[in-house]
Amino acid sequence: MSNIPAIDRNSRWKTIRREVGRAVGALAIALLVTFIVVLLTSKAPLEAITQLLTAPASKPRTIGLWLDDVAKLTITGLAFSLVFQARQFAMGVQGQVYIGALAASYVALSPLGASWAGIPLGITAAMLAGAIYGFLPGIAKAKLGANEIVSSLMLNYIAIEVCNFLVRTSLPKPQPGVLTTNDFPDSAVFPQLIKFDGLNVTRLDLGLVFALIAVLVVWFALYRTSWGLKLRLVGHNARFAEYSGIKATFIMVSAMTASGALGGLLGSMFVQGQGYGKLTVLFEGGLAFEGILVAIVARSRPLAVPIVALFYGYLRQGAQLMNIRTDVPAEVIGVVTAIIILLVSSSFSLNFITRLFKRSPAPAAAPATVGGAAK
């Protein structure tokens, strides 16, 4: 009896070691490709690579920027983890971010925003709006069988245009023609966490705390509640879950809604954070989709998400600084992201090259896709 937990712990360590090994291997290959690309295209390749690898940790200010990115990547990673664990491919986090940010901005720019309620109400409004926006593709799939990938992507584009429209027209702004709103009142902006004279860690605000809380809440919901157990069962085998009496459609919709609430929270963290403190068009800069990478490398495990976000955020910030200080565009990070996703989500392992040349006959093909969702 007594050795069962020990075995369990052993195999868990083994799994963790294997996953970490795969992630590090993928990262190494992706960085190698990046170095080659930089070597071929840059006039000062060494300078660029040094910036990419060292710049984020060089100054308190850049550390602040890095950790702020980590908080945001953690939330979007969690949002994707939730739907991935239920094996839903809802890609709507970006749309939820914009809709959540809009809701938070309306609260912050209203008289309420100037009172103590600015922060809690703003977050609540953002999470509600995001949840509704996540619920829509969920219910369309559950009731009608409408493909959630397509509908959630369309909702992303719509949310961006709605945000552009409202910022340009009806929301109050400092002068006509500017594509930002008025600055939010101080009571509606997340306070800085650390304020030392001389140690200027701007940007590092309450959002980081929310991110850590969100990690714990999502972990608890997934691994310590019956809802989470059902969700993971649905993700493993929806039909089996249905036979054992679980309402699979309800679980799918609720997973997408909860993920939407996280997306909304991220929206409020953007506009109410120290980084902006106002609503700007296209403020999100593609960060929401990078949650796919975080969730995949973390194998959709909530507790692993912030660790992955820590590493990926570093690279992301490094790429931005490299963009500013050298001639290599920050978008090179897209190449890194794609390679890591490809390698980690596949059965890649460090000896995969040897297996490639063995050319064993492919095992009987199970439907290798979730394309079933499209039928």
């Binding site: 690309v37 295209t41 491919f89 890609m91 369309a140 009608l144 069988g145 409408a146 493909n147 990938i149 397509v150 509908s151 992507l153 369309m154 909702l155 584009y157 719509i158 245009e161 709605v162 552009n164 429209f165 340009r168 027209t169 593609g286 989709f289 990078e290 796919i292 990478l293 995949i296 001639d327 565009p329 978008e331 090179v332 990070i333 897209g334 190449v335 992201t337 794609a338 390679i339 996703i341 490809l342 989500s345 596949s346 059965s347 890649f348 995969f352 490639l356 492919a362 009987a364 093909a365 199970a366 439907p367 290798a368 896709t369 979730v370 394309g371 969702a373 499209a374």
Partner: protein, 314 residues
């Protein structure tokens, strides 16, 4: 309102519809082939985008047909990469697709900055070429209907005619050749063709390669006819709309044509509306194709569910 009606029923508007439909139709056909082979190709967007940039950059140095072929080849290569990771390395094909989209979104901007020497927005300082339009002005010599025929049929891109032909070709391939049957069999129930000795993975790989090639061709049309030159994120969701069009078109080539025409018509409407109505905000007009896609998807799903209910399947 009258101006809108006059515009909509004019020959120029018809030509605009064909122009906006062509990239969508090519991508939709690509999505259809992948979908029938059992793989939802969510990377159409990224394949189109990379097809756009490849075509533009190659067209600076080579004749237009080489550039179009390069766009097609880039898409096909991406399809091959996708197949390699999805089938050989057993990755989830949706995730592979999104990896390609992320690669395209970042990679095209990176490559554009390198090619233009720092411009991250457009390829405006590259002398890229356009796909020629087919001039059928001799049709107006036909007495009576000649001028009308000419105004409707002349001035389309070469690739538009190719796309129209491809609808027929894809239909013929799918329903009149053994390979089409194999492809549909692989998508329907892979174990059966496997047992019959049909190379399932090879067929799947080929279907993704063709799918990517068609998306890349759509990208070439977009960047060498609809617009001449590359703009960051210029596909603007067309690949995803094409994904919706595959489903809306009931996974049939003719359905794909009709669905692409529907979305193309609304996109054309979005093209002409700013000139007619100054008071409708541009953002709302740009939203039209996406709203229509969702509406069409929902309506189609309702219909499909009714059909299932009629057949007594729950």
């Amino acid at each position: 309102m009258m101006e809108l009606l006059i515009t909509v029923f004019s020959a120029t508007f018809f030509v605009t519809i064909i122009r906006t439909t062509t990239p969508l139709l090519l991508a939709t056909l690509g999505g259809l082939i992948a979908d029938l082979g059992g793989a939802l190709n969510v990377a159409l967007e990224g394949m189109m985008l990379i097809g756009c940039l490849t075509a533009v950059i190659v067209s600076v140095y080579a004749p237009w047909y080489v550039a179009v072929a390069a766009g097609l080849g880039a898409g096909a290569l991406l399809g091959l990469i996708m197949a390699f990771f999805a089938f050989r390395l057993k990755a989830d094909i949706i995730l592979v697709g999104f990896a390609i989209n992320i690669l395209a979104a970042g990679g095209t901007v990176f490559a554009l900055a390198i090619a233009t020497g720092g411009d991250k927005g457009t390829s405006i300082n590259l002398q890229s070429k356009a796909v020629p339009a087919v001039d059928l002005s001799f049709l107006s010599a036909i007495p009576g209907i000649g001028p009308v025929l000419k105004s409707f049929l002349s001035g389309h891109s070469v690739l538009s005619w190719l796309a129209a032909f491809l609808v027929f070709a894809v239909w013929y391939f799918l329903y009149r050749t053994p390979w089409g049957l194999w492809l549909r069999g692989v998508g329907e129930y892979p174990a059966a063709p496997e047992a019959a000795g049909i190379p399932v993975n090879k067929i799947r790989t080929l279907s993704l390669v063709v799918s990517g090639a068609l998306a890349g061709l759509g990208g070439a049309q977009l960047a060498m006819f609809n617009y001449v030159g590359f703009t960051r994120d210029m596909t603007a969701g067309r690949g995803f709309i094409a994904l919706g069009a595959v489903l809306l078109g009931a996974r049939h080539p003719v359905g794909a044509l009709l669905a692409a025409l529907l979305f193309g018509a609304f996109e054309a409407l979005a093209v002409v509306m700013p000139g007619l109505f100054n008071d409708i905000p541009a953002e709302l007009i740009r939203m039209i194709p996406f709203v229509v896609t969702i509406a069409a998807l929902v309506l189609f799903s309702i219909r499909a569910q009714r059909a299932l209910a009629l057949r007594g399947v729950k």
